[in-house]
Amino acid sequence: MLVQVPGGWNPLLGRLAIDQIPYTNPILAPLFVAVVIGGIILLGLITYYQKWGYLWKEWLTTVDHKKLGVMYIILGLVMLFRGFIDGLMIRTQQVWANGPQSSGVFGAVHGYLTPFHFGQVYSAHGLIMILLAATPLLVGFMNIIVPLQVGARDMAYPYLNALGLWITAAAVALIMISLFVGDFAHNGWFGYAPIFELQYSPGVGVDYWIWTLELTALGTTLGGINLIATIVKMRAPGMTWFRLPIFTWASLSANIIALTSFPALQVALFLVACDRYFGSHFFTAGFGGNLMLYTNLFWLWGHPEVYFVILPAFGMMSEIFPAFSEKPLFGYITMVAASFAIAGVSWLVWLHHFFTMGAGPEVNSFFSVATMLVGIPTGVKVFNWAFTMYRGRITYTAAMLWAIGALFLLLVGGLTGMMLAIPAINYMVHNSVFVIAHFHSMLLVIVYAIFGSVLFWFPKVFGFKLDEFWAKTMFWLFSAGTVLVFVPMYMLGFMGQTRRLDYVFNTAWHPYLVTEEIGIAVYCLSVAAFFVLLYVSIRDRVKNRVGQDAWGTSRSLEWLTHSPVPFYNFAVTPHVNARDELAWRRHNGINEAQPTQYVDIHMPNNTGVAIYIGALTFVLGFALTWRVWWLCLLSLVAIIVLMIVRSWRGDPGYIITAAELEKMEREAMQRQQQVEGHLPHHGGHAVPSGAMAYEGQKVSPLGTPPSSGDHH
C-alpha cells in the first residue's frame, strides 16, 4: 500500500542517511557549527547558574496563561528573526543575480544560491512568517490579554493552553531541523500541484512542509477553542457582551475563523500526504486527480487565515488609539459589527487567489465583488480609528507611532488589494511582485500592531516600561526600511517582475533592486535597535517601574490589577459596571478601590504532560517525514497513552487561602506605593449607587483595610 520511495530506505532509519546532512554546504555547515556551539554555551550557562529547576518549574511545565503567552511571543520573535534572515537572503540573491554578466559562487551560476536552495529559502520564509511568527505572536497576545480583559483567572482550559504552545513549538522545531537534516520544500509556502507530488519532489522537503503545517494547524486550533471558550464562559460578573473590550471581540471573531477554517487546511494536506505516502491521486495530473482542487482547498483556508491574523491586529490598534488619544473608541458597536462582517465575508472570497484559473466571467465577477465588499467594514474601522484620534489629546508614544504606522500601511495594502480584486487587473499582475508588495503591506500592519502592543502591554506583564527613545528609533528605522523595500517592489511589479526569481534577467531593474537591498540594510539597523531597546530597558528596569495603570490613560480591565500581573490575575474577581471599566472607575474616583475581603481561590497545578506530548508530536512529525514507521507508531501510542493517563488523573488543583492572598496583595500594594508614592485607598468617593467594585462587595467607604475574614 505504501509507495516505493526513490533512494534508500531501511526499516530502522527510514530514509535517514548520513549524506542527508548537508555538511558540504558552504552556508549551512558553518551555521550548523555555530548553532551547536551556541547551544552548548546556552545549556552550559543554564547548568552553571543552576537554572534548570527554575526553568522547569516556572516555565516549561506552567499552565499560567501569561507565561504561556510570553513563551508564544518569544517563539514568535525568534521565528520573525529567522524569517527576516530568509528575506535578507532572498533580496541579496536577486540584487546579485541580476543580468547575464552577474557572477556566481558556491555552485550557483548567478548569485550565491542555487535555484534548488533559493526555492527552499522562499518557501520557508513565507511559511515561517505567516504561521510560525505572526500567528504565535498574535496567539501569545490573545493568551495574555483576553483572560485579563474579561476578568478571568486563567483560560478556560489551562492544560489545553500549554498543549497548544508545545505543539506549536514542535512545529517550529521541525522546520528548524530541516535546515540541518535533509532539505525543505521548494514549492512555495502554499504549495502547488503537481510539483509537490513524489514524482516531482522526491526528497523529504515536501514532507517537512506537510507536517510542519499540520502541527501548527493543530496547535492553533487548540488555542482557538480555548480562547472562544474563555470569552464565552469566563467573563466576570457584569461583563456583558457589549462591555467586552474590542481586542476581546477581535479575538473572538478571529478564533471563530481559525476554528472553522483550519480543518480545511488539515484535510488538504492530509490528501497531499495520501498522494505522497499511499500513492493516491487526489492532486495528480492523471488518474482522475485534479490539480486545481488543491489550490481551491488551500485558499479555502488561506484567505480566512489572512483575516485570522489581521483581526487581532485590528483589535490591538483599537486598544492603543483610545489610550493615547484619551478618548473612548469611536463607534464601538460598528467596530464589533465590522469585525464579524470581515470574518463572515472572508469565507466568500478565496477564489481571488486564482482568478487566472479561468472559471469564467460569472465566477470571477462574483468573487471580485465579494472581495471588494471586505473594503466596507475595513473602511468603517479606519474611519473609527481616525475619529477616535480626531480632537483627542494625542500623545505620540512609541506604541502610538507603531499604531499610526499600521494605519497608513493598511491604507496602502487595502487599496492595492482592491486593485488586485479586479480580475482584469489581476490577470496582468497575478504572481508578480506587486502581489508580494500588497500582502507584505498587509502583513506589516500586523507586525506594526504587534510592536505597538509589545510596547503597550509590556509594563502590564513585566512591571516596567520599555525605553521610549530606542523604541522610537527602532520605529523610524523600521519604517524607512519598509518604504525602501516595498515602494520599489510595487514599481517592479508593474514593470513585470514575477515572484520567486532566483535569477533576474532584466538589468534595467537593477536600481530598484539595489534600493530594496538598501532597505534591507536599514531593517538590519532597526533589528539592532530592537536589541539595544531590550538591553537598555532591562538595565533601567527599576527606574521605569509602573503601577497598575501604566499609562495613566488606559481604559480596559487588564489595567485594574497590579503590574506585573500576579499569577492569580485578580485577587477578587472584579465586578464590571461599564464598557471601558477602568476609565469609568477613574472617572468616578474608584480606580484604586481594593476589595474589602478575600476568599480562598482555586488554581490549576503545573503539569509536565503538555511538554511531553509536544516533544512526542515533534518525534511523530520527524518520523513521518523520514518514513521511520516503528517510530511513528511508538510516538503515536505514547501520545495517546499520555492523554489517557492525564484525563484519568485529572487535576484537583490547589487552593490559595485568603490569608496567603492577603499577604501577597499587601506586598503588591507596597510595591505599587514605592512606584506611585501613595497607598491605594480602599473604597472611593462619588460612587454611583448600585456600583460594585468586586464581586459581592459594595464599594466601601475610605479606610477599611481588606481582611481575610473567616468565611471560606
Binding site: 480545511a264 482542487l293 466568500l348 477564489l351 479561468g358 469564467g360 460569472e362 465566477v363 482555586h602
Partner: protein, 118 residues
C-alpha cells in the same frame, strides 16, 4: 471559588456520552467507508453514478458522526452546540456550493464531460 468545579462527570453534555453511542457511530462510519471504497475499486457504477453514491455515503457518515460522536442536538443544555451548528451549516453550503459552481464552470471550458453524465 465556587463556580464550575463540581464533578465534571455530572455535566449534562458529558452525561450524554455512552460507550454504545460511540461504538455505533464508529461502526456506521467504518461500514460506509468500506462500502464506498469497495464500490470505487470494483467500479460498481459508471463514474458519475459512483460520485453520487459515495457522496451520499459521506453525507450519511457526517450525520451519524454529528449525532453519535459529537452529540449535537437542539436541547437547552447544548445551546452552544446548536449555535455552532447554525454557524457551520451556511459555511458548509457556501464552501461546497461555491466550489461546485466554480469547478463546473471551469469544466465547461476545459474538460470533456465525465462518463455517465448527460
Amino acid at each position: 471559588m465556587s463556580h464550575g468545579h463540581d464533578n465534571p462527570i455530572l455535566h449534562p453534555e458529558v452525561q450524554m456520552s455512552s460507550t454504545r453511542g460511540y461504538f455505533t457511530g464508529f461502526l456506521i462510519s467504518l461500514v460506509l467507508m468500506a462500502a464506498a471504497t469497495a464500490m470505487v475499486s470494483s467500479h460498481a457504477f459508471p463514474p458519475f453514478g459512483l460520485l453520487m453514491v459515495i457522496t451520499i455515503c459521506a453525507a450519511i457518515a457526517i450525520i451519524a458522526q454529528i449525532y453519535f460522536l459529537l452529540h449535537i442536538d437542539v436541547s437547552e443544555h447544548n445551546i452552544w452546540n446548536t449555535v455552532s451548528l447554525v454557524l457551520f451549516i451556511p459555511l458548509f453550503i457556501l464552501t461546497i456550493g461555491l466550489t461546485w459552481w466554480m469547478f463546473s464552470q471551469l469544466y465547461l471550458r476545459t474538460m470533456p464531460m465525465m462518463p455517465g453524465m448527460h
